[in-house]
Symmetry: C2
Subunit: 328 residues, 2 copies
């Protein structure tokens, strides 16, 4: 598999040359859990790394029904018009608590996906131990190396996926729908705390007055936004993804936020901290994967889990016992 035509150098060369199928194949490699695929993936990522870092990395979240896909289609199309190359990745939380999958809709972002400057890729999250989309960050880097200048990483308001997305992007955009009175209800898990730009979607037709009230409510409640950045106040803006209104203003806020990150030096420090956390996560994953692959551990694990779940064994001692089993 690692010959001159399909090895990492060849694949990377095709990816750099703008071959979408090579990019898709490379992302599949970084998502794979097969040992030989992972080695290839790491070589690919190492090749890609020097060509990364310039893109605008933007997380987009919002509860189902808020019009997120429509917004991303509208924004993506507008950015493509302006000469940006736009990649859309998604963290799918379907493996976690929630039921629905954002990947179920095969036709999502159909129009954008067909645009020659766009690349739309659903990104399954690995269902592993507490892991939320460990490889989305790698997919993002591959997209950057492939020449994409804007990376939109989409997630829905479930579980820890927002925190994971906020930890791999520079600017975190929350989309909300107009809602009377209890408009904060749908927004969960500290998402407000992560927000850099807040957009009230569906500011159109009969929703317009309610959208304006919602905007004012969020603006009054700006104490909820806690991401510290000197000189940055979270803007709360109206958009209509359906009517494609407010899209340019929303994007100007994203660009202004990026500028504030750069001016304050926070961009570099945030990205360095993100990379360091990714290293620790990679170490944890590798160590746990090696542990689970150990034959003696694998044989003893069901019994140990059962004893711990029944309260017959303490987690700490069960952990020690499992670790002691490993072949050296």
């Amino acid at each position: 598999m690692s010959d001159a035509l399909t090895g990492p150098e060849a694949l990377f060369a095709r990816l750099r040359a703008g071959d979408r199928r090579a990019l898709a194949r490379a992302i599949t490699l970084v998502e794979s859990t097969r040992e030989d695929d992972r080695k290839l993936a790491e070589e690919l990522l190492e090749l890609a790394l020097p060509s990364t870092g310039q893109a605008l990395r933007v997380g987009v979240t919002g509860t189902p029904g808020v019009g997120k896909s429509t917004f991303i289609e509208a924004l993506g199309a507008r950015l493509c018009e302006r000469g940006e190359n736009v990649a859309v990745l998604a963290v799918d939380p379907s493996s976690a608590v929630s039921g629905g999958s954002i990947l179920g809709d095969k036709t999502r972002m159909d129009a954008l996906a067909r645009h020659p400057r766009a690349f739309v890729r659903p990104q399954p999250s690995a269902g592993a131990l507490g892991g939320t989309a460990p490889h989305t960050r790698d997919a993002m880097l591959l997209c950057e190396a492939a020449g994409f200048t804007v990376i939109l990483v989409e997630t829905v308001g479930v579980g820890q996926s927002e925190a994971a997305v906020a930890d791999m992007t520079d600017t975190f955009v929350l989309l909300v729908a107009p809602g009377g009175g209890d408009e904060l209800q749908g927004v969960k898990r500290g998402v407000l705390e992560l927000v850099d730009v807040l957009l009230v979607n569906k500011a159109d037709g009969e929703h317009l007055a309610e959208a304006e009230r919602t905007r004012a409510d969020y603006e009054r409640g700006s104490g909820m936004f806690l991401r510290p950045l000197p000189g940055w106040t979270v803007p709360v803006l109206l958009v209509s993804a359906r009517d494609r209104r407010g899209i340019d203003e929303a994007w100007r806020s994203v660009e202004a936020h990026r500028a504030a990150l750069e001016a304050s030096g926070a961009l570099a420090t945030r990205r360095a901290a993100q990379a360091e956390r990714a290293l620790w996560r990679a170490l944890e994953e590798e160590l746990l994967a090696a542990l689970r692959a150990d034959p003696a551990v694998r044989a003893a694990l069901p019994g140990a889990l059962d004893a711990v779940r029944r309260g017959a064994r303490s987690p700490a001692q069960a952990a020690r016992a499992l670790l002691a089993l490993r072949a050296r």
Copy 2:
């Protein structure tokens, strides 16, 4: 250190006999990172395990200033009067994002701490990699083995400590203060999602009307409470910790929640899942600790971190390289 007088069996016998100093010493052992202490701690926990599981495990959270310590003092005193043995543990987030420490106030819960049926212990969280108070769960088990029938685990509204506390307790109580209009502001990070019982404190004097409005606001916003339990609706109650009013009603809600957990079978499944997650966390911690203790890894780690932070090396490849260095 492990002789007949100070070994785990002797310490455990004293702890079981109601010796508070033995309990304090045992908790210090489970908090220790020293290798010989940890072995003792694990033996202690194994001895303690058969005597655990009966207590009411209650998490209590609320932003600073909401009157949490006053409430816990009032509740603890009332429970002691009623013949319960009450242990108060705290997860201190001072090592994390926030500035303040809830341990700074040496006189906190002074009256309760002097009660013969109470045990008040601040519980520092380990500052390690993403770990929030990994040993608070163990301290809780030791308190249960020592005969405490109610464990109150306190945290403040910062970072991931609420999720950690919710993951080691059965019933999660949120305290809020009366607040006009923007009363949801101070409540962060998905805390609402974890809540089983919500109390509006300071329902006294001139705050009473505002407290009632806040209670009604939260009751209307009950869609925010997302912890699934058949037959349970999150109660929103008024209390005055200062005037010691509403305390019994609040406690009845906690007991009713425990009854609902038992009736639905959720208590057993939640605790089994909590124990399993504790096992995985223990495995991760042990594996990472062993990795960091490896001399070759320790020597290479600063350089690897620097390369990853600068973007010169991918996290995945740096992880592999570090793991390959280990002495076998």
